[in-house]
């Protein structure tokens, strides 16, 4: 229906008309029923109607959209395909959502020098698909990779199962073109390893849409490894599985990926995929890759260590199809939990991997105390937990209890020296926990960085920072609140 619908009162018709003139009427969405698509991302518990959604088709269109939004004093929320789990693309009431879904062309490929230039709307998996036949691939592999976009990956510094060995988006990005909050277009980095000056590209990656809108990205491409060896090992409980992970890593092996599932997650994955996995307390799925002779040894050593740690059974896939099926079981585990529980929260936190067994027991205790079941399926190699807290929204109080437990888990991660997010980002969801991990000085410094790019905090405001401030507004020394003085409230 496009720009012919009724605009929400918060965005003036004149602004809508200017936007439509830039991107074309059908790429300027104001119809309330169409806007509904954009009211949330993967964090579906929070929904806010944007004032307007525009879908620009070029860098120049993005720049013009930003300039118009600035003149109209509208906040801007950039969006890829909306798979983010922390509400990074959650709109603000009456804001402009800039969707990059139309910008999905691969612009240039240079295999000899190992890079590719793409628009931000290209899906993660499509990058690898485009070069797979030549024997190359793009390493970061978030579970949502068939849908999630490169632009979104840049904003969130997305990882995936195989970032244990290969690193995250940040380690695989060479350059970017971006539109800043004032509508100017800048290039950072380029198709070589290092460029002089500050590593602004490093700051851009993971900045959750607050630094600018990326309109082109130069990605690093890798030659496929010669061989991959996969095995699936079952254990009586997560204790033994956790020990196996520690032993494998301690032995000097750097697996390409090492994933853990607990009893509930295994049951869910089985229900969804029909895999013939046994009912056991825990399972590991490990990939080793590299030159054939090296990998053969690595995999054998890892299997030995898993056995020594108490593995019940080791399965090795006979062919690529069987291997793909094992990974399908792992990658579908999140969604599969929907089959064993009406509702669930996905949490994302990081702990030092040597603490896995201990932390999982603590989570179990928390669950028992709250009367909630927890399924665990996660990247064990780097200690990135993904507890899935199961609840039934129809049971009064359960949703709230689940939410509280999620928060408790994050605080525990910080207590163990970890992080409140390993790959899903802070977004709208975890801003309140930033203070658990960072001091006032840390956060203020981060906000200086943000204000250097966007002094009006126009880009994706309200995300990441727990206490939003205007640029230039100094927090000053902490003045205790009256309730703190009386001992009714306190800071930790």
């Amino acid at each position: 229906m496009g720009a012919t619908g009724t605009p929400p009162t918060s965005v003036k018709a004149e602004v809508v008309a200017r936007m439509a003139a830039v991107v074309g009427e059908r790429h300027c969405i104001i119809d309330p029923s169409e806007l509904r698509t954009y009211e949330c991302d993967g964090l579906m518990s929070s929904r806010v109607m944007p004032g307007l959604v525009v879908l620009p088709g070029s860098t120049e269109e993005v720049a013009q959209v930003v300039r118009i939004a600035r003149e109209a004093n509208l906040p801007i929320v950039p969006r890829g395909s909306g798979t983010g789990l922390s509400g990074g693309a959650l709109p603000l009431l009456g804001c402009v959502v800039v969707g990059l879904s139309r910008m999905k062309r691969i612009l240039e490929v240079d295999l000899e020098n190992g890079w590719m230039r793409v628009q931000p709307g290209v899906a993660n998996l499509d990058v690898s698909k485009a070069i797979s036949s030549a024997g190359y691939y793009y390493a970061p592999d978030p579970s949502s990779q068939s849908v999630c976009t490169i632009g979104g990956n840049v904003a969130e510094n997305s990882g995936g199962a195989h970032c244990l060995k290969y690193g995250f988006t940040s380690n695989h990005m060479l350059g970017a073109r971006l539109v800043l909050a004032d509508g100017s277009v800048v290039d950072l980095g380029g198709p070589v390893l290092d460029t002089p000056g500050y590593d602004l590209l490093g700051v851009l990656v993971g900045s959750e849409g607050m630094i600018g809108i990326v309109t082109e990205v130069v990605l690093r491409l890798l030659r496929k490894p010669q061989a991959t060896r996969t095995f699936f090992a079952t254990f009586p409980s997560t204790d033994e599985a956790g020990d196996a992970v520690s032993a494998i890593i301690a032995s000097g092996i750097v697996p390409a990926a090492i994933e853990m599932m607990d009893r509930l997650a295994i049951a869910a994955a089985k229900a969804a995929t029909g895999l013939d996995w046994p009912d056991v307390g825990a399972a590991l799925l490990m990939d080793a890759d590299g030159p054939e002779a090296e990998v053969e040894n690595t995999a054998d050593n890892a299997v030995e260590l898993a056995r020594a740690a108490g593995a019940i059974e080791i399965r090795r896939p006979r062919d690529e199809a069987e291997r793909a099926l094992m990974w399908k079981g792992r990658k579908s585990a999140f969604a599969a939990v929907g089959r064993i529980s009406p509702n669930y929260f996905v949490q994302d936190g990081v702990i030092p991997r040597s603490k896995i067994a201990k932390v999982l027991r603590e989570i179990e205790v928390m669950g028992n105390r709250a009367g909630l079941r927890v399924a665990n399926v996660f990247h064990a190699g780097d200690g990135n937990l993904h507890p899935l807290i199961l609840y039934d929204a129809k049971v009064p109080g359960q949703e709230k209890a689940a939410e509280e437990m999620g928060g408790e888990i994050l605080k525990m991660c910080v207590r163990y020296g970890g992080s409140i997010t390993g790959e899903h980002g802070v977004g709208a969801d975890k801003a309140v926990y930033m203070g658990e991990m960072f001091s006032e000085g840390d956060l203020e410094t981060m906000s200086f960085v943000r204000c250097a790019f966007d002094p009006e905090t126009r880009m994706n405001p309200g995300k990441v920072f727990p206490t939003p401030r205007l640029c230039g507004e100094r927090p000053g020394p902490h003045r205790p609140h009256a309730t703190e003085l009386t001992g009714e409230a306190w800071r930790e």
Partner: protein, 516 residues
């Protein structure tokens, strides 16, 4: 202040800026005291770790005091099972590596001078070594940082786990920041297991094209070396070292395959270095990197660019403009908007064209500013070097060298004295003046192709003048001139070697014989 301080000495001078005081805090709190008081007093500070990279960056105009980090040198935390370390900024890389040795772990970062380079300095200067090919540079190994802002506020970013996306990536922001954003106090790194074995293969005497085919071959064969280094030997000859690390069985197989790959080439040589030889090679590699005559960070363009000079010379204006736009854009992309001080060029014809972009696009509303900014940074390599004080000792070269003024250098760019100054600075070298040196050799862009007769007539005069001073070597800074003069000499059955002034300077600095 209770912090240890002393008056500055000669070793505390940074690129000519002399501080008054040197502070050596031994705790982070003491460092905070120095920064806060300096901020209050309006003092300018600089920071020194091992002092190995002080020449990077722009020279400071004024430094009131220097903070040395040598007393902030503790390992705060090493967790072998989590493979992470937290270290204070003043700790040397060598000392840090020794704390892991018994756990068979390492920080997979190998810049030269590990006994002097400090953790903080490595971050500030973005130091790296040959293992970058496999493990990446500092940005791929750092997981957290604490630094002190100019106002004395301590700021942390990242954390102690390898996977973490909470907040802005302050650790990466500090990489290569050369002390301009604050004083780095502690750094958190991820560690890697020490490999079971390491083997270096030596592939001597490869050509530039041979290097490229080798790298292609390695990728094609899915080999995974941790370092591939080419060391220039002479003209178009490089000695290459390829290092494999990992499990013994895996390495043996990879070495075998690489050897096979090289043997299949016509003249490919490949030898496995024994341990002392490998160690000698890599320490020689480090030495070359640290004792070079001039240290400049070079950013290579990923692909060849055509500057458009030849199009201009042949009257193809539109084509020249298209090449020029492409060149400007590619250089901008590589510099990433960062501070490139100069764009160096070693061919006079190209240089004069690049310097002319500003004028070419003067009336172009879209390109004029970019072209002018680009041209303003272009320098002939002799122009750039003559402006720097000579640092490396020059080895004597016994030769009579005649310097030919290329028109595109002398007339188009006004560069006459600079190449002469560089050559005259070489002990033993006798610089002789060619009569009418600044007259054309007849090459003149493509003049020698379109007007061969007249071109040869002009060229004959040049050759007579060159031969009249009986040189051992002709120095010429433009490929067109060199080709033209050499061709005419050959026609007369005369042989006179020719070289670019930079090749002669390099021979002197590195103690090699003159190009033949």
């Amino acid at each position: 202040m209770s912090v240890f301080s002393r008056p500055a000495a000669e070793g505390d001078v940074i690129l000519g800026a002399r501080p008054e005081t040197v502070y050596e805090p031994s705790t982070v709190d003491e460092a905070g005291e120095v920064l806060r008081e300096s901020a209050l007093g309006g003092k300018t500070l600089a920071f020194i770790g091992g002092g190995t990279d002080l020449e990077l960056g722009t020279a400071p105009r004024r430094i009131d005091a220097v903070v040395r980090t040598g007393r902030l040198a503790r390992v705060v935390e090493h967790s072998p099972s989590d493979q992470i370390v937290v270290a204070e900024a003043g700790l040397t890389l060598g000392e840090l590596q020794r704390t892991f040795a018994s756990h068979r772990q390492r920080l997979a970062l190998d810049p030269p001078l590990p006994e002097r380079k400090t953790v903080g300095g490595i971050i500030a200067a973005n130091a790296y070594g040959p293992r970058r090919a496999r493990f990446g540079s500092v940005r791929d190994l750092i997981i957290g940082i604490s630094f002190m802002r100019a106002d004395g506020t301590l700021a942390r970013g990242g954390g102690k786990v390898v996977k973490n996306v909470a907040g802005f990536d302050l650790p990466k922001l500090m990489i290569g920041s050369l002390g301009t954003l604050g004083l780095i106090t502690t750094v958190n790194f991820r560690l890697h297991p020490l490999p079971e074995e390491e083997v270096t293969l030596h592939l001597p005497g490869r050509s530039g094209a041979g290097l490229r085919s080798l790298v292609r071959g390695i990728k094609e064969a899915q080999l995974e070396p941790t370092s591939v280094v080419a060391a220039w030997r002479e003209a178009d000859r490089f000695d290459v070292a390829v290092r494999f690390e990992g499990l013994r069985a895996g390495i043996a197989e990879q070495c075998e395959r690489l050897t096979g790959l090289v043997r299949r080439e016509a003249a490919g040589a490949c030898e496995t270095l024994d341990e002392p030889a490998a160690r000698a090679f890599w320490s020689r590699h480090d030495e070359v990197r640290t004792t070079g005559a001039l240290r400049a960070k070079i950013t290579a363009l990923p692909t060849h660019v055509e500057c458009g000079a030849l199009s201009i010379h042949s009257g193809r204006g539109e084509e020249a403009l298209a090449f020029a736009r492409d060149t400007i854009a590619r250089f901008e992309a590589v510099s990433g908007g960062g501070p490139v001080d100069a764009i160096l060029v070693n061919a006079a014809g190209c240089g004069s064209n690049l310097k002319d972009y500003g004028r070419l696009f003067a009336d172009d509303p879209i390109w004029s500013a970019r072209a002018a900014a680009f041209s303003a940074k272009v320098r002939d390599v002799t122009e750039f070097l003559a402006g720097l004080p000579p640092v490396a000792p020059r080895h004597p070269l016994r030769a009579r060298v005649a310097y030919h003024d290329a028109c595109h250098l002398a007339h188009a760019q006004g560069i006459r004295g600079e190449p002469r100054k560089l050559l005259a600075g070489i002990p033993g070298l006798e610089l002789v003046e060619i009569p009418d040196s600044d007259q054309c050799c007849g090459s003149a862009g493509i003049y020698n192709l379109v007007q061969p007769e007249s071109s040869e007539e002009i060229g004959a005069r040049k050759v007579n003048n060159v031969l009249s001073v009986k040189p051992d070597l002709l120095a010429s800074a433009n490929p067109g001139c060199t080709l033209q003069i050499q061709k005419l000499l050959r026609q007369r059955g005369q042989a006179l070697p020719a070289a670019h002034p930079i090749e002669i300077l390099d021979a002197s600095i590195s103690g090699r014989p003159l190009p033949k």
